[in-house]
C-alpha cells in the first residue's frame, strides 16, 4: 500500500460505525458469535463490525476476549 491509499483509508469513515461505547457494550455478545463464525457476527451487528474495522483499541479488546474464551481459556466455575 502506498502513502496515498494509507491516508485515504485512514480518513475514510463509515456512517454505520457504532462508536466505542456501543461496541464495548456488545463486545461479549459479539465475541461469542465471532468465536463461532466471525462473518456471522458481522452480519448480526454490522455497526459493531464497522467500528471494529476502524478502531484499533476496540479490535484489540475483541482479539483478547476471543483468545481468552477459546477452549482451554482460564475459565473456572464457582464451587
Amino acid at each position: 500500500m502506498n502513502g496515498w491509499s494509507a491516508l485515504e483509508r485512514f480518513l475514510r469513515t463509515d456512517p454505520r460505525d457504532a462508536g466505542c461505547a456501543q461496541a464495548m457494550e456488545l463486545l461479549h455478545v459479539y465475541a461469542e458469535l465471532a468465536a463461532a463464525d466471525r462473518a456471522a457476527a458481522g452480519r448480526r451487528y454490522p455497526e459493531v463490525a464497522a467500528h471494529l474495522r476502524a478502531c484499533g483499541p476496540c479490535e484489540e479488546d475483541l482479539e483478547g476476549l476471543l483468545a481468552v474464551i477459546r477452549p482451554g481459556g482460564p475459565t473456572r466455575l464457582p464451587g
Partner: protein, 222 residues
Amino acid sequence: MSGAEVPGRGRASPDELDEDSRRWVQALGGTGAEREAAAARLHEMLLRAARAEAHRRSGQLRLSGPELDDIAHQAAADAVLAVMAKIGRFRGESRFTTWAYKFVMFEVSSKIGRHFWRDPAVSLEAGDWDRLPDRFGFEPSRESEWRDLAAALRRAVEEDLTGHQRRVFTAIVLAGVPLDALVAELGSTRNAIYKTMFDARRKLRASLAANGYLDDDPVRRP
C-alpha cells in the same frame, strides 16, 4: 455514527441463564462467606485472564515481566470491582465468564494506556509534521508526488478542525500517542476521543476531496 441494536435491557431471570452463569450470579449475588468465596474465585479467574492478555500484548509494548504482572494484578482487581458493581446488569446474552472477561480486556487496555506516560520522552504536544511520511508510508523518493497532498492535509488540519480536534489529531497521528493513552491523559473516554477523531477524519477527507486530492467517495462499503 449509528447505533447498534443492544439486546434487552432487563435483568435476566435465573431460569434464562445457562447453568454455569446461573451459579456465578447466584454466588456473587449472595451474602457473607458464599459471596466472599465466589469473589475470590472470580479474582483468581480474572487474574489468569489478565495475565494471559498482558502477555498477549507484550510484543507490542516495552514492558518486562514484573511490569506486565503488575498491570495484570491491577487490571484483575479493577475488573472484579466492575463485575461486582454491574452484576445486576448482567442480562445473560452471553456466558457470565465472557461478560466478566470483557472487563478484564477494558482494564488491561486502560492500564497500558496509563503506563504509556511513564516514558518521560513522550509529549502530547510533540506533533511533528516531519513524521507524516512515516505515518502513512510516503516514500521519500516519491516526495514530488505527495508533497502537495501533505501540504493540503496540514492546511486542512490547521484551518478546518476545531482546537480540540486539532489537539487530538496531533497527538494520535503526529505524536503517535495511542488512543487509550490519550484517554488517560485527558481524563476522557475512549468513545469521546474516538468520536473526536471520527469527526476530524470526516472533515479532513471532505476538505481534501473538495480540493481534488481524494475522490469524493467518503464511504466504500466492504
